[in-house]
Symmetry: C2
Subunit: 220 residues, 2 copies
Protein backbone atom coordinates (compact mmCIF):
# COMPACT_ATOMS: atom_id res chain seq x y z
CA UNK A 1 0.00 0.00 0.00
CA UNK A 2 2.95 2.29 0.58
CA UNK A 3 4.22 2.16 -2.91
CA UNK A 4 6.88 4.72 -3.64
CA UNK A 5 7.41 5.89 -7.19
CA UNK A 6 10.94 5.34 -8.34
CA UNK A 7 11.21 8.85 -9.76
CA UNK A 8 11.39 10.46 -6.31
CA UNK A 9 12.63 9.50 -2.87
CA UNK A 10 9.58 11.05 -1.23
CA UNK A 11 5.95 10.26 -1.67
CA UNK A 12 3.62 12.86 -3.09
CA UNK A 13 2.23 13.53 0.35
CA UNK A 14 5.65 14.08 1.88
CA UNK A 15 6.80 16.22 -0.98
CA UNK A 16 3.76 18.46 -0.48
CA UNK A 17 4.51 18.73 3.23
CA UNK A 18 8.15 19.60 2.73
CA UNK A 19 7.46 22.16 0.03
CA UNK A 20 4.56 23.76 1.88
CA UNK A 21 6.69 24.06 4.97
CA UNK A 22 9.40 25.86 3.07
CA UNK A 23 7.09 28.25 1.24
CA UNK A 24 5.01 28.99 4.33
CA UNK A 25 8.15 29.95 6.20
CA UNK A 26 9.40 32.09 3.35
CA UNK A 27 6.32 34.09 2.46
CA UNK A 28 3.69 33.30 5.05
CA UNK A 29 0.74 31.00 4.90
CA UNK A 30 -1.76 33.41 3.45
CA UNK A 31 0.58 34.51 0.71
CA UNK A 32 1.42 30.96 -0.35
CA UNK A 33 -1.05 29.46 -2.79
CA UNK A 34 -1.71 25.80 -3.31
CA UNK A 35 -0.68 26.23 -6.90
CA UNK A 36 2.70 27.58 -5.83
CA UNK A 37 3.16 24.62 -3.53
CA UNK A 38 2.13 21.97 -6.02
CA UNK A 39 4.17 23.54 -8.79
CA UNK A 40 7.31 23.65 -6.64
CA UNK A 41 6.72 20.11 -5.45
CA UNK A 42 6.05 18.82 -8.96
CA UNK A 43 2.70 17.35 -8.00
CA UNK A 44 -0.79 17.92 -9.24
CA UNK A 45 -2.88 20.70 -7.77
CA UNK A 46 -5.66 18.39 -6.69
CA UNK A 47 -3.23 16.23 -4.75
CA UNK A 48 -3.37 18.63 -1.82
CA UNK A 49 -7.10 18.32 -1.39
CA UNK A 50 -6.89 14.60 -2.04
CA UNK A 51 -4.30 13.94 0.65
CA UNK A 52 -5.18 16.61 3.20
CA UNK A 53 -8.72 17.70 2.41
CA UNK A 54 -8.13 21.43 2.49
CA UNK A 55 -5.46 24.06 2.75
CA UNK A 56 -6.19 24.54 6.44
CA UNK A 57 -5.69 20.84 7.06
CA UNK A 58 -2.40 21.04 5.20
CA UNK A 59 -1.31 23.92 7.41
CA UNK A 60 -2.17 21.92 10.48
CA UNK A 61 -0.26 18.92 9.18
CA UNK A 62 2.81 21.06 8.54
CA UNK A 63 2.69 22.46 12.05
CA UNK A 64 2.06 19.16 13.67
CA UNK A 65 4.98 17.53 11.93
CA UNK A 66 7.38 19.95 13.60
CA UNK A 67 5.72 20.93 16.83
CA UNK A 68 5.37 17.41 18.13
CA UNK A 69 9.08 16.53 18.00
CA UNK A 70 9.96 19.96 19.35
CA UNK A 71 7.70 19.63 22.35
CA UNK A 72 8.76 16.09 22.99
CA UNK A 73 12.41 17.10 23.02
CA UNK A 74 11.77 20.06 25.27
CA UNK A 75 9.86 17.95 27.72
CA UNK A 76 12.42 15.17 27.68
CA UNK A 77 15.27 17.60 28.28
CA UNK A 78 13.58 19.06 31.32
CA UNK A 79 12.60 15.72 32.75
CA UNK A 80 16.09 14.36 32.39
CA UNK A 81 17.50 17.34 34.23
CA UNK A 82 14.95 17.20 36.99
CA UNK A 83 15.50 13.47 37.41
CA UNK A 84 18.99 14.21 38.68
CA UNK A 85 17.49 15.63 41.82
CA UNK A 86 19.63 18.75 41.94
CA UNK A 87 18.23 22.24 41.68
CA UNK A 88 18.37 23.73 38.19
CA UNK A 89 19.74 27.16 37.44
CA UNK A 90 18.21 29.51 34.91
CA UNK A 91 20.73 28.98 32.16
CA UNK A 92 20.25 25.23 32.29
CA UNK A 93 16.50 25.62 31.92
CA UNK A 94 16.85 28.10 29.08
CA UNK A 95 19.22 25.81 27.24
CA UNK A 96 16.89 22.87 27.70
CA UNK A 97 14.14 24.93 26.11
CA UNK A 98 16.11 26.47 23.28
CA UNK A 99 18.39 23.61 22.32
CA UNK A 100 15.70 21.57 20.47
CA UNK A 101 14.92 24.63 18.39
CA UNK A 102 18.54 25.12 17.43
CA UNK A 103 18.97 21.44 16.77
CA UNK A 104 16.02 21.43 14.41
CA UNK A 105 17.31 24.57 12.74
CA UNK A 106 20.64 22.86 12.20
CA UNK A 107 19.43 19.52 10.92
CA UNK A 108 16.21 20.63 9.30
CA UNK A 109 15.81 20.52 5.56
CA UNK A 110 15.82 24.28 5.11
CA UNK A 111 17.51 25.71 8.15
CA UNK A 112 15.41 27.95 10.32
CA UNK A 113 12.17 26.84 8.76
CA UNK A 114 10.62 25.86 12.04
CA UNK A 115 11.33 29.08 13.86
CA UNK A 116 10.04 31.04 10.93
CA UNK A 117 6.92 28.93 10.96
CA UNK A 118 6.40 29.48 14.66
CA UNK A 119 6.86 33.20 14.26
CA UNK A 120 4.39 33.17 11.40
CA UNK A 121 1.84 31.47 13.58
CA UNK A 122 1.98 34.37 15.98
CA UNK A 123 1.25 36.92 13.33
CA UNK A 124 -0.81 35.39 10.59
CA UNK A 125 -4.50 35.90 10.38
CA UNK A 126 -5.94 35.05 13.74
CA UNK A 127 -6.53 31.50 14.79
CA UNK A 128 -3.27 29.75 14.20
CA UNK A 129 -1.95 30.46 17.66
CA UNK A 130 -4.98 29.07 19.35
CA UNK A 131 -5.37 26.16 17.01
CA UNK A 132 -1.84 24.84 16.93
CA UNK A 133 0.71 26.63 18.99
CA UNK A 134 -1.32 26.83 22.16
CA UNK A 135 -2.73 23.35 22.05
CA UNK A 136 0.63 21.73 21.44
CA UNK A 137 2.67 23.89 23.75
CA UNK A 138 0.40 24.13 26.72
CA UNK A 139 1.80 21.32 28.84
CA UNK A 140 5.38 22.15 27.95
CA UNK A 141 5.06 25.79 28.92
CA UNK A 142 3.52 24.90 32.27
CA UNK A 143 6.42 22.63 33.08
CA UNK A 144 9.00 25.24 32.21
CA UNK A 145 7.11 27.88 34.11
CA UNK A 146 7.24 25.76 37.26
CA UNK A 147 10.91 24.97 36.75
CA UNK A 148 11.68 28.63 36.27
CA UNK A 149 9.73 29.58 39.34
CA UNK A 150 11.83 27.19 41.41
CA UNK A 151 15.01 28.55 39.88
CA UNK A 152 14.06 32.18 40.61
CA UNK A 153 11.95 32.03 43.78
CA UNK A 154 12.34 35.77 44.35
CA UNK A 155 10.07 36.56 41.42
CA UNK A 156 6.30 36.47 41.74
CA UNK A 157 4.34 34.01 39.57
CA UNK A 158 3.14 36.91 37.48
CA UNK A 159 6.66 38.08 36.85
CA UNK A 160 7.69 34.57 35.84
CA UNK A 161 4.93 34.52 33.26
CA UNK A 162 5.89 37.90 31.90
CA UNK A 163 9.51 36.99 31.51
CA UNK A 164 8.81 33.67 29.87
CA UNK A 165 6.59 35.57 27.51
CA UNK A 166 9.42 37.97 26.77
CA UNK A 167 11.74 35.04 26.27
CA UNK A 168 9.44 33.47 23.70
CA UNK A 169 9.18 36.74 21.82
CA UNK A 170 12.91 37.21 21.82
CA UNK A 171 13.46 33.64 20.76
CA UNK A 172 11.14 33.72 17.80
CA UNK A 173 12.44 36.97 16.47
CA UNK A 174 16.05 36.06 17.07
CA UNK A 175 15.92 33.21 14.60
CA UNK A 176 13.53 34.97 12.29
CA UNK A 177 15.01 38.00 10.69
CA UNK A 178 18.57 38.58 9.74
CA UNK A 179 17.25 41.71 8.09
CA UNK A 180 17.08 43.77 11.24
CA UNK A 181 20.48 42.63 12.34
CA UNK A 182 22.05 43.67 9.07
CA UNK A 183 20.25 46.95 9.33
CA UNK A 184 21.75 47.50 12.76
CA UNK A 185 25.21 46.49 11.64
CA UNK A 186 24.89 48.92 8.73
CA UNK A 187 27.86 47.72 6.83
CA UNK A 188 30.23 48.26 9.72
CA UNK A 189 30.27 44.51 10.18
CA UNK A 190 28.12 42.93 7.55
CA UNK A 191 30.14 39.84 8.14
CA UNK A 192 27.61 39.30 10.92
CA UNK A 193 27.20 35.58 11.36
CA UNK A 194 23.59 34.52 11.70
CA UNK A 195 24.03 30.78 12.01
CA UNK A 196 21.97 29.06 14.70
CA UNK A 197 25.09 28.47 16.76
CA UNK A 198 26.17 32.09 16.78
CA UNK A 199 22.63 33.25 17.44
CA UNK A 200 22.48 30.89 20.39
CA UNK A 201 25.77 32.12 21.78
CA UNK A 202 24.55 35.69 21.69
CA UNK A 203 21.08 34.84 22.88
CA UNK A 204 21.72 32.83 26.04
CA UNK A 205 23.41 35.57 28.09
CA UNK A 206 20.72 38.03 27.06
CA UNK A 207 17.91 35.72 28.11
CA UNK A 208 19.52 34.56 31.33
CA UNK A 209 20.27 38.09 32.45
CA UNK A 210 16.79 39.27 31.54
CA UNK A 211 15.11 36.40 33.31
CA UNK A 212 17.15 36.80 36.48
CA UNK A 213 16.83 40.57 36.69
CA UNK A 214 15.60 41.92 40.04
CA UNK A 215 11.84 41.91 40.39
CA UNK A 216 9.42 44.31 42.00
CA UNK A 217 9.46 42.64 45.40
CA UNK A 218 13.19 42.69 45.89
CA UNK A 219 15.09 45.27 47.87
CA UNK A 220 17.28 46.27 44.97
Amino acid sequence: MDSMPASSALSTRDRILATAERLFAEAGIGATSLRAITAAANVNLAAVNYHFGSKDALVEAVYRRHLEPLNTARLRNLEELEARGRALDVETIVRAFVEPLVEQARTGASGTTLTRLLAQSLHEAAGYVERFYARENDAVLQRYRDAMQRAIPALSPDEICWRLNFMLGTLHNAFLDAGLLKLLAHGDSDRAETSPEVTLTQLIPFLVAGLTAPGQREAI
Copy 2:
Protein backbone atom coordinates in the same frame (compact mmCIF):
# COMPACT_ATOMS: atom_id res chain seq x y z
CA MET B 1 -10.45 72.44 -0.46
CA ASP B 2 -10.56 70.67 2.89
CA SER B 3 -14.26 70.31 2.98
CA MET B 4 -15.47 68.00 5.70
CA PRO B 5 -18.83 66.34 5.34
CA ALA B 6 -21.04 67.04 8.31
CA SER B 7 -21.97 63.39 8.65
CA SER B 8 -18.55 62.43 9.97
CA ALA B 9 -15.74 64.09 11.88
CA LEU B 10 -13.16 62.57 9.54
CA SER B 11 -12.71 62.98 5.84
CA THR B 12 -13.06 60.00 3.57
CA ARG B 13 -9.34 59.76 3.22
CA ASP B 14 -8.74 59.76 6.95
CA ARG B 15 -11.50 57.28 7.57
CA ILE B 16 -9.88 54.92 5.09
CA LEU B 17 -6.53 55.32 6.81
CA ALA B 18 -7.91 54.70 10.28
CA THR B 19 -9.95 51.70 9.24
CA ALA B 20 -7.15 50.17 7.18
CA GLU B 21 -4.76 50.61 10.07
CA ARG B 22 -7.09 48.77 12.41
CA LEU B 23 -7.86 45.92 10.04
CA PHE B 24 -4.22 45.52 8.98
CA ALA B 25 -3.21 45.18 12.61
CA GLU B 26 -5.97 42.72 13.35
CA ALA B 27 -5.69 40.34 10.43
CA GLY B 28 -2.58 41.28 8.51
CA ILE B 29 -2.20 43.25 5.33
CA GLY B 30 -2.52 40.42 2.88
CA ALA B 31 -5.64 39.09 4.56
CA THR B 32 -7.37 42.45 4.57
CA SER B 33 -9.20 43.29 1.35
CA LEU B 34 -10.00 46.73 0.09
CA ARG B 35 -13.63 45.75 0.15
CA ALA B 36 -13.43 44.95 3.84
CA ILE B 37 -11.78 48.30 4.50
CA THR B 38 -14.22 50.37 2.50
CA ALA B 39 -17.20 48.53 3.93
CA ALA B 40 -16.02 49.06 7.51
CA ALA B 41 -15.21 52.69 6.81
CA ASN B 42 -18.53 53.32 5.07
CA VAL B 43 -16.88 54.64 1.95
CA ASN B 44 -16.97 53.57 -1.63
CA LEU B 45 -14.62 50.93 -2.92
CA ALA B 46 -13.23 53.18 -5.62
CA ALA B 47 -12.31 55.82 -3.05
CA VAL B 48 -9.18 53.91 -2.09
CA ASN B 49 -7.75 53.95 -5.58
CA TYR B 50 -8.88 57.53 -6.01
CA HIS B 51 -7.10 58.83 -2.93
CA PHE B 52 -4.10 56.51 -2.75
CA GLY B 53 -3.76 55.00 -6.19
CA SER B 54 -3.32 51.42 -5.09
CA LYS B 55 -3.45 49.14 -2.10
CA ASP B 56 0.32 49.22 -1.78
CA ALA B 57 0.25 52.99 -1.64
CA LEU B 58 -2.42 52.78 1.04
CA VAL B 59 -0.23 50.43 3.05
CA GLU B 60 2.66 52.83 2.76
CA ALA B 61 0.48 55.73 3.85
CA VAL B 62 -0.69 53.80 6.90
CA TYR B 63 2.86 53.00 7.89
CA ARG B 64 4.13 56.46 7.25
CA ARG B 65 1.42 58.06 9.36
CA HIS B 66 2.68 56.18 12.40
CA LEU B 67 6.34 55.56 11.79
CA GLU B 68 7.22 59.17 11.25
CA PRO B 69 5.95 60.45 14.61
CA LEU B 70 7.46 57.42 16.32
CA ASN B 71 10.88 57.97 14.86
CA THR B 72 10.73 61.68 15.46
CA ALA B 73 9.91 61.15 19.11
CA ARG B 74 12.61 58.53 19.54
CA LEU B 75 15.20 60.77 17.98
CA ARG B 76 14.09 63.82 19.96
CA ASN B 77 14.21 61.88 23.24
CA LEU B 78 17.74 60.75 22.62
CA GLU B 79 18.96 64.13 21.49
CA GLU B 80 17.49 65.85 24.51
CA LEU B 81 19.22 63.40 26.80
CA GLU B 82 22.53 63.69 25.04
CA ALA B 83 22.30 67.48 25.08
CA ARG B 84 22.65 67.40 28.84
CA GLY B 85 26.26 66.37 28.43
CA ARG B 86 26.19 63.59 31.01
CA ALA B 87 26.78 59.95 30.17
CA LEU B 88 23.60 57.93 29.67
CA ASP B 89 22.94 54.62 31.35
CA VAL B 90 21.25 51.71 29.63
CA GLU B 91 17.86 52.10 31.26
CA THR B 92 17.64 55.73 30.22
CA ILE B 93 18.37 54.81 26.63
CA VAL B 94 15.88 51.95 26.67
CA ARG B 95 13.18 54.19 28.08
CA ALA B 96 13.88 56.83 25.48
CA PHE B 97 13.38 54.22 22.80
CA VAL B 98 10.34 52.47 24.23
CA GLU B 99 8.41 55.39 25.68
CA PRO B 100 7.14 56.72 22.32
CA LEU B 101 5.78 53.29 21.54
CA VAL B 102 3.92 53.09 24.84
CA GLU B 103 2.68 56.62 24.47
CA GLN B 104 1.26 55.86 21.06
CA ALA B 105 -0.28 52.66 22.38
CA ARG B 106 -1.94 54.65 25.13
CA THR B 107 -3.26 57.54 23.07
CA GLY B 108 -3.74 55.75 19.76
CA ALA B 109 -7.17 55.14 18.39
CA SER B 110 -7.12 51.41 18.93
CA GLY B 111 -4.48 50.76 21.53
CA THR B 112 -1.58 48.65 20.41
CA THR B 113 -2.33 49.11 16.76
CA LEU B 114 1.09 50.47 15.98
CA THR B 115 3.05 47.68 17.58
CA ARG B 116 0.88 45.12 15.88
CA LEU B 117 1.51 46.88 12.60
CA LEU B 118 5.24 46.90 13.17
CA ALA B 119 5.21 43.24 14.05
CA GLN B 120 3.18 42.54 10.94
CA SER B 121 5.74 44.30 8.83
CA LEU B 122 8.39 41.88 10.03
CA HIS B 123 6.42 38.85 8.98
CA GLU B 124 4.19 39.70 6.07
CA ALA B 125 5.08 38.68 2.58
CA ALA B 126 8.54 39.96 1.90
CA GLY B 127 9.23 43.55 1.08
CA TYR B 128 7.51 45.55 3.78
CA VAL B 129 10.52 45.49 6.04
CA GLU B 130 12.83 46.80 3.41
CA ARG B 131 10.36 49.30 2.02
CA PHE B 132 9.10 50.94 5.17
CA TYR B 133 10.54 49.76 8.42
CA ALA B 134 14.14 49.83 7.32
CA ARG B 135 14.02 53.08 5.42
CA GLU B 136 12.29 54.96 8.20
CA ASN B 137 14.17 53.44 11.09
CA ASP B 138 17.66 53.40 9.72
CA ALA B 139 18.92 56.66 11.15
CA VAL B 140 17.17 56.14 14.47
CA LEU B 141 18.65 52.71 14.98
CA GLN B 142 22.14 53.95 14.21
CA ARG B 143 21.84 56.67 16.82
CA TYR B 144 20.64 54.29 19.48
CA ARG B 145 23.30 51.80 18.60
CA ASP B 146 25.98 54.39 19.14
CA ALA B 147 24.42 55.54 22.40
CA MET B 148 24.20 51.98 23.62
CA GLN B 149 27.80 51.33 22.67
CA ARG B 150 28.89 54.28 24.78
CA ALA B 151 26.73 53.07 27.68
CA ILE B 152 28.15 49.54 27.52
CA PRO B 153 31.73 49.95 26.29
CA ALA B 154 32.66 46.43 27.42
CA LEU B 155 30.58 44.90 24.65
CA SER B 156 31.90 44.55 21.13
CA PRO B 157 30.05 46.35 18.30
CA ASP B 158 28.76 43.01 17.12
CA GLU B 159 27.35 42.21 20.52
CA ILE B 160 25.65 45.59 20.66
CA CYS B 161 23.93 44.86 17.38
CA TRP B 162 22.82 41.45 18.52
CA ARG B 163 21.35 42.73 21.71
CA LEU B 164 19.55 45.61 20.09
CA ASN B 165 18.14 43.07 17.68
CA PHE B 166 16.96 40.98 20.62
CA MET B 167 15.47 44.05 22.22
CA LEU B 168 13.45 44.85 19.11
CA GLY B 169 12.15 41.32 18.93
CA THR B 170 11.18 41.33 22.58
CA LEU B 171 9.57 44.70 22.24
CA HIS B 172 7.41 43.83 19.28
CA ASN B 173 6.19 40.60 20.73
CA ALA B 174 5.65 42.06 24.16
CA PHE B 175 3.01 44.43 22.93
CA LEU B 176 1.69 42.04 20.35
CA ASP B 177 0.14 39.00 21.87
CA ALA B 178 -1.66 38.73 25.14
CA GLY B 179 -2.47 35.21 23.97
CA LEU B 180 0.84 33.71 24.96
CA LEU B 181 0.80 35.44 28.29
CA LYS B 182 -2.61 34.09 29.16
CA LEU B 183 -1.47 30.69 28.04
CA LEU B 184 1.44 30.90 30.44
CA ALA B 185 -0.70 32.14 33.30
CA HIS B 186 -3.05 29.25 32.64
CA GLY B 187 -5.84 30.49 34.83
CA ASP B 188 -3.66 30.73 37.92
CA SER B 189 -3.72 34.46 37.45
CA ASP B 190 -5.80 35.31 34.46
CA ARG B 191 -6.19 38.69 36.03
CA ALA B 192 -2.92 39.34 34.21
CA GLU B 193 -2.86 43.01 33.30
CA THR B 194 -1.69 43.62 29.77
CA SER B 195 -2.00 47.39 29.64
CA PRO B 196 0.91 49.25 28.07
CA GLU B 197 1.95 50.59 31.47
CA VAL B 198 2.13 47.18 33.11
CA THR B 199 3.86 45.72 30.09
CA LEU B 200 6.42 48.49 30.30
CA THR B 201 7.00 47.95 34.00
CA GLN B 202 7.70 44.29 33.40
CA LEU B 203 9.68 44.87 30.24
CA ILE B 204 12.25 47.44 31.31
CA PRO B 205 14.11 45.32 33.89
CA PHE B 206 14.18 42.40 31.47
CA LEU B 207 15.64 44.47 28.67
CA VAL B 208 18.13 46.36 30.83
CA ALA B 209 19.44 43.19 32.41
CA GLY B 210 19.66 41.43 29.04
CA LEU B 211 21.45 44.33 27.41
CA THR B 212 23.98 44.72 30.22
CA ALA B 213 24.74 41.03 30.58
CA PRO B 214 28.44 40.12 30.47
CA GLY B 215 29.79 39.73 26.96
CA GLN B 216 32.30 37.36 25.46
CA ARG B 217 35.32 39.57 26.08
CA GLU B 218 34.77 40.08 29.77
CA ALA B 219 36.47 38.13 32.51
CA ILE B 220 33.22 36.83 33.98
